[in-house]
């Protein structure tokens, strides 16, 4: 089962292996009998759709999760990883997608946490710590980051670099990187790849996940494709079309539905010179029946754009809804104008996990199901059930806590909430992230249907592929501005990524 590499010195076992690993979360099988292996001295890319189980696999290999079944091996020996420390002891280090930096502590403190230089009386010598951190940053070529700065005050790209730096200086023998480039610009990516190549030359094993195909092909020695929680295959050479087919289980064209023809040319949302924290004079126009994509690197103002439009962030500029100037100072204002925001993090920003499916669905339309403030039980159930049926939300019952639902169904509940409110301008922020493939497809279909009904969709996705296939137009944001506008047909994911990283500086 386990593969070994034949070298001059003899048989070198794989650096790290996962054998028939399985892991489920609340009924959802995130990883299902997955087998994976990576050698020392190679860069191994792990690709797959969002929700294919890559992140879970990385957590299993990195000791953050314990498998329900199967085993992890390091350097050929079966290991029990009870926590990060166990993995670290074996030289396995991970950079997670969710940053694990401490926001109100300095870069130096974060870089050297638990290995701070001690001075007299065994106390941490802060000056030396800063000096050491400065040395590390300089040596890694990221000395534009001030070691005394608070993490809170850094840009997302800088934080990502600190997170990577923190692991690199541990001298890992196996390095796991979960989407390390999602918030990095061109130069930062080049910086990272140079680091990775250096590590490879030194015989380290690097495993990383990414959504950017050109990055993957430019640096990976081998590629393992994941789908539905298990590996599909490992390749040294594969072209993108084939890879996408393997990832999605269907032809590229078949997987993404065609956006409906735009029936209207009526502008429903016009935004001029929108500015605020992280947002610099963004202007855009959204039409009825249109799916307007928004893309770019993480941390370049998308979130701020969506939240400002929805009234959840202070902003200046002009917003016109349906031809009438609108003052949107709170989500309630926005909702009243027929707008809806489906945020990326449904667990912390969207749903009320312990509350019932019913309560979550009707939260934005409570006045409609109540009279004199009293909720009409039957009416509420009727509306909620209607939406559950319409969106094919799989739930044991209306009264069950929404926590018990799978990610995709949770996302549908959130969409359903705003559909009940009959919102005509839907701000969809990375709604397919962490959603299983089947549900993802359903969400695409739903988006098309909604656009077909004349609703306007502003759609941000971290997956350029999605934007390329689903949108009428795509706006690419960079440093809080709209940097480029691409129009269908003929948008490709490469175009989007290129526009996003072009001229991009390491944002400071």
């Amino acid at each position: 089962m386990s593969e070994a590499t034949q070298t001059a010195g003899g048989v070198v076992p794989p650096a790290v292996e996962g054998i028939r690993l399985a892991k489920a979360f609340g009924g959802v099988q995130a990883v299902d009998s997955a087998t994976f292996s990576a050698r020392p001295g190679e860069v191994h890319a792990l690709v797959g759709e969002n929700g294919a189980g890559k992140s879970t696999l990385i957590k299993l290999l990195g000791g953050r999760l314990r498998p329900d079944a199967g085993e992890v091996r390091a350097a050929g020996r079966k290991v029990e990883l009870h926590g990060a420390d166990d993995a670290h002891a074996l030289g396995i280090w991970t950079v997670f997608q969710e940053l694990t930096l401490l926001p109100w502590m300095t870069v130096a403190e974060n870089l050297l946490i638990r290995r701070e230089p001690r001075g007299r009386l065994g106390l941490i010598d802060r000056d030396r710590m800063v000096g050491e951190a400065d040395r590390v940053l300089t040596w890694l070529g990221i000395d534009h980051i001030d070691p005394r700065a608070l993490i809170e005050d850094l840009s997302l790209a800088q934080r990502q670099m600190v997170e990577i730096a923190r692991v690199i200086i541990q001298d890992p023998s196996t390095l796991l990187l979960d989407e390390p480039t999602s918030s990095l610009g061109e130069k930062e990516v080049a910086w990272l790849f140079e680091l990775i190549q250096g590590l490879r030359a030194d015989g380290k094993c690097i495993i990383f996940t990414s959504h950017r195909w050109n990055e993957i092909t430019s640096i990976a020695d081998r590629i393992t494709i994941f789908r539905n929680g298990a590996e599909v295959g490992t390749f040294t050479e594969i072209d993108e079309d084939r890879a996408v087919t393997l990832m999605t289980g269907r032809q590229l064209e078949a997987f993404y539905p065609q956006p409906p023809a735009r029936a209207h040319d009526r502008a429903v949302l016009e935004v001029e010179e929108l500015a605020g924290e992280g947002l610099r004079n963004a202007s855009l126009t959204l039409h009825a029946s249109e799916i307007l994509g928004v893309g770019g690197l993480a941390g370049h103002g998308h979130r701020e754009l969506f939240f400002s439009l929805f009234g959840a962030q202070a902003h200046s500029g002009r917003i016109v809804v349906d031809g009438r100037p609108a003052r949107i100072r709170s989500p309630r204002d926005a909702a009243r104008l027929g707008m809806a925001l489906v945020p990326e993090d449904r667990k912390t920003e969207g749903l009320l996990l312990p509350l019932s499916v019913r309560a979550n669905l009707t939260l934005a339309v409570l006045p409609a199901v109540s009279s004199l403030g009293l909720i009409g039980g039957a009416r509420e159930r009727g509306l909620a059930q209607g939406m559950v049926d319409a969106l094919k939300i799989r739930t044991p019952g209306l009264g069950n806590p929404v926590r018990q639902l799978s990610g995709g169904n949770q996302q549908k509940v959130l969409l359903g909430r705003w559909l009940l409110a009959d919102s005509r301008i839907l701000l969809l922020y990375d709604v397919t992230r962490g959603v299983d493939v089947a549900t993802k497809h359903e969400i695409y279909e739903l988006m098309m249907r909604l656009a077909g009904e004349g609703r306007a969709l502003l759609y941000y996705s971290s997956d350029a592929e999605e934007l390329a296939h689903l949108c009428h137009r795509v706006l690419v944001m960079r440093e809080g501005r709209i940097a480029a506008e691409l129009s269908a047909p003929g948008i490709t994911a490469e175009d989007i990524v290129t526009a996003a990283v072009r001229e991009s500086r390491a944002a400071d």
Partner: protein, 330 residues
């Protein structure tokens, strides 16, 4: 242990008793258990008269705890209860001068004062971002200073007035053989439960308590809800003040002092989650009865004061650990 627990819980779960409802059940069971223990150590403790008296006393705690429940449901706390209650009791007698015909206005004024104190708390917490602990603590001091200062330390001419007879009768009288203070409490229990479980306001309260940010993004006016909940807390503290005046006949300084600790304890015993979002007033009502029954059992046992403090703390800890164990099971 875990299995054993699960085996025990499953039938309950199937009977529609989810965790929150189970907690109400526990609070009631604890009260019943205490009455049983009381009867053993002190025969006569569980007689109808005795239970009635304890429940009646519990109603005062229960009313203050209703206000506390509202703010705890959004993860807040109201430390201004003691002097809002005191202020209300003094305002009632000084404005009514013990006369029935002035009573309606005096009652309105008093409730209005409670609401106003809650309003200031709510606005400072919702808009100025003052932590609830700090704001309500300061409000307690502000109300104390104002009450003492304006009444000249309860030496004002009107300060000697009695509660209007209509108020006193409302507390001491009875309706269909049930003491009317108790009837009032039952009405409050019904209304508060209705408000929390069946109205849009209640739904938004739970939503806010569970996740204020998500609720805000769903169009809930989180600030307004927050303010209204603190207003309600002030209102209930004032209502308790009114009842206490009716109960004791006159206002006195320091009337509200015991009600802070007790209202919080009742909320805790009643199974309301201190970080917000979960819990029912029915449980809190049971918690208030449990608490007063506990104190009364200890009084009946002639337990010295230090022992009372210790047992009091231990019982709360045991209940918390029981709830906490269930939390882990989920």
């Amino acid at each position: 242990m875990a299995k054993w627990n699960a085996a025990l819980l499953q039938p309950l779960e199937r009977a529609g008793l989810n965790r929150d409802r189970r907690r109400i059940l526990y609070a009631f069971l604890a009260a019943i258990l205490l009455f049983a223990v009381g009867e053993i150590v002190h025969p006569g403790f569980a007689s109808p008269g005795s239970i009635g008296a304890i429940v009646m006393v519990a109603s005062f705690v229960g009313l203050v705890a209703a206000g506390q429940t509202f703010v705890v449901l959004i993860g807040g706390i109201d430390l201004s209860v003691p002097w809002v209650l005191n202020g209300a009791s003094i305002l009632l007698v000084t404005s009514s001068l013990g006369q029935d015909d002035r009573a309606p206005w005096a009652l309105l004024l008093t409730l209005g004062m409670g609401a106003a104190a809650g309003l200031v708390n709510g606005v400072a917490i919702a808009f100025l971002g003052v932590p609830a602990v700090v704001m309500t603590l300061a409000m307690n001091g502000i109300m104390e200073g104002l009450t003492l200062g304006l009444s000249g330390g309860l030496t004002c001419g009107a300060c000697a007035s009695y509660a209007p007879p209509v108020v006193a009768d409302a507390v001491h009288g009875s309706l269909f053989g049930i003491p009317s203070a108790l009837v009032l409490w039952l009405v409050v229990i019904a209304l508060v439960s209705l408000l929390l479980s069946f109205t849009t306001f209640g739904r938004r309260t739970y939503a806010t308590g569970n996740n204020p940010h998500a609720s805000y993004l769903a169009g809930v006016n989180v600030r307004l809800i927050t303010i209204l909940l603190y207003v309600l807390s002030g209102l209930f503290a004032a209502l308790a003040g009114i009842l206490l005046v009716g109960f004791g006949g006159q206002a006195s300084l320091g009337m509200g002092d015991p009600y802070l600790f007790q209202s919080i304890a009742a909320v805790v015993i009643g199974g309301v989650y201190m970080l917000g979002g979960r819990g029912h007033y029915l449980g809190v009502a049971a918690g208030a009865v449990t608490l007063v029954a506990l104190v009364s059992v200890l009084l009946a046992m002639n337990m010295p004061d230090y022992g009372r403090n210790i047992i009091y703390g231990i019982v709360i800890l045991l209940l918390l650990l029981l709830y906490g164990r269930e939390e882990a099971e989920d």
